[in-house]
Symmetry: C2
Subunit: 348 residues, 2 copies
């Protein structure tokens, strides 16, 4: 005679009455609380299994005030760097019992960032990780106080907590490498000026040049894409071509390599090129790309550690990218010692 209602999913009470105990006892079993006799525990487990009971997360959240979810604010996730960090964050978060709610931004304007963060807060996240190393996004985030822990990645010392790789000194070490090969005219193909990563790498390039008493030389900007690297490479006047390029990321370096090849400039014979990131493909570029490896996955893990206070902020030193020397950098040619820019470079 039972009415054919939609079988509402079973609740604590349902389990309790089936097991012949109180709902509280079931709650204790589910939450692995002590002071439950083995016999009772078994009965309850049996009932849970029989009904295929799943605790209702919303009710639990309401009662405890915890949601166990962390919000992630991300820009372009189809790129290797951000998506790798996300993987690391996800690993660590899940291990710590948290879920990730990911929101992507279509741009970094104030309203977009604002709305995204607001949505995350409405959703009840307990913390936010901003994977948006973009100055305008960071500015917006800095002005919003949300009442929950927030952390930026690669934000260059954002006040609300920031986890970063030491990109500036990594960039410097790229320059050091080139200098040690005899290069004196070292250009930089940078990322967009409003990206923090681009700024740090640019700063590292500048300071390393200064440290060696070298003049600054050519500075170009791309948009991280291979296309922009290619365009940049085609755009340089031959007379201004340096003996080495430090490039802001591997994709742009790929484009640059193609442009140089097309113009008959051998790499590393005529021009050395060094990238940044060490994407998995970099080794198979032509030539194999010398670059700086960033441990994105570790960075992601560290985000969760810091957000959850599992580790003192900034402890254990900041992660250091590592120089990976491959075939795209080599000694400067004997007949081109990096002298003044007036000198017309040789070309085959």
């Amino acid at each position: 005679m039972a009415a054919a209602t939609t079988p509402r999913s079973p609740s604590l009470t349902d389990v309790a009455s089936l097991a012949g105990v109180s709902h509280q006892t079931v709650s204790r079993v589910v939450n692995r609380r002590p002071n439950v006799s083995d016999a009772t525990r078994r009965k309850v487990h049996a009932a849970i299994l029989e009904l295929d009971y799943r605790p209702n997360a919303a009710a639990r959240s309401l009662a405890t005030g915890r949601t166990h979810s962390i919000g992630v604010l991300a820009g372009e996730l189809s790129q290797y760097g951000p998506s790798s960090v996300l993987m690391g964050v996800q690993d660590a978060a899940r291990r710590a019992g948290y879920f990730l709610t990911v929101v992507t931004l279509k741009d970094y304007s104030a309203p977009t960032v604002d709305e995204a963060l607001s949505d995350l807060l409405d959703h009840g996240v307990e913390g936010v990780i901003a994977l948006t190393p973009h100055v305008s996004a960071l500015e917006v985030l800095a002005t919003m106080q949300s009442g929950i822990p927030m952390l930026t990645v690669g934000g260059g010392g954002h006040r609300g907590g920031d986890v970063a790789l030491d990109q500036e000194s990594a960039a410097a070490s790229a320059v050091e490498h080139l200098v040690s090969l005899g290069h004196r005219r070292i250009a930089h193909l940078a990322g967009p000026a409003d990206w923090v990563d681009a700024q740090r790498r640019l700063a590292g390039w500048r300071s390393a040049l200064a440290r060696h008493g070298l003049e600054e030389g050519l500075l170009l900007h791309g948009d991280w894409s291979a296309r922009s690297g290619y365009d940049a490479g085609l755009g340089v006047e031959l007379g201004r071509l340096p003996t080495a390029f430090f490039v802001g990321n591997d994709q742009m370096a790929l484009g640059l390599l193609k442009a140089l090849r097309q113009r008959g400039c051998e790499v590393p014979g005529r021009v050395s090129v060094i990238g940044f990131d060490d994407v998995p493909e970099a080794e198979y570029y032509e030539p194999s790309l010398t670059t700086l490896r960033q441990e994105f996955h570790d960075l992601g893990r560290r985000c969760i550690d810091e957000l959850l206070g599992l580790q003192a902020l900034g402890a254990a030193g900041s992660l250091q990218p590592r120089l990976i020397v491959r075939a795209s950098t080599g000694p400067v040619r004997a007949d081109d010692d990096g002298g003044g820019p007036e000198r017309v470079p040789m070309q085959g």
Copy 2:
């Protein structure tokens, strides 16, 4: 005399008493329900603003039974394809008022997949999108009935609903392209045998060869990485080298290109190579890679459409990858018409 308790975040009731109305009226305003006078609405809005009130998502979920969150089960997100799909899914989901909870799998074993799905269900997702075109993962998913809509991406007709690009006919069109250039010995460098994508592309290659009365020839397997493509390229005996390779994805094609170059095989002069995916870098490989562009973003959007029933399943035809012809494919050489494998290929 107020006690210095932690300032609990304001509730509907707090707003109500500040605005001098009932909690229900506030609820109505918040949810944009009709039948609230403008004056009241304004008062409530003012109170909301003053208290910085945010509706409690958990309480709302408990009362309505809706969580507005969708679970995403993903494998390796640091790759271009999956992460692009994720972007598309995220766009569409948010537009439809849903949040994405992303869980990544460290492998595709039954326990891992099982646990991940179970966690998502515990979290209260209203649907699941599985970005795991891997046979064993799909098998596990097929056996679990969760009571909520579930959809696989690129699962090749998984029973619980599946959204996919037509990879088989796309692969066939790659082969057609090669055949039209005069190639008769067309090898395939496939992805891992337990990936659905790899299977579809392999099937397309086979069927197209058969359609043209060509014998099957060389079949190699890689793991999607550039390294594996490189290794495969180095491993082929020169005598068995075909005049064209259809490669399962662009990364492996990149590695293959490098191996071929190292062995002195010109591309496309001696061997043509065609990839799959059209990653943004493919155009800048050496040579520019002919490949099949997959519209991952659209695919992601379609997932949400189908999951939410915004569109009939499989409607509007399946998305068709598009052939992008670049410089890595060319006519077969006059002195190598793709004859029998006994024939020793020329080499510079």
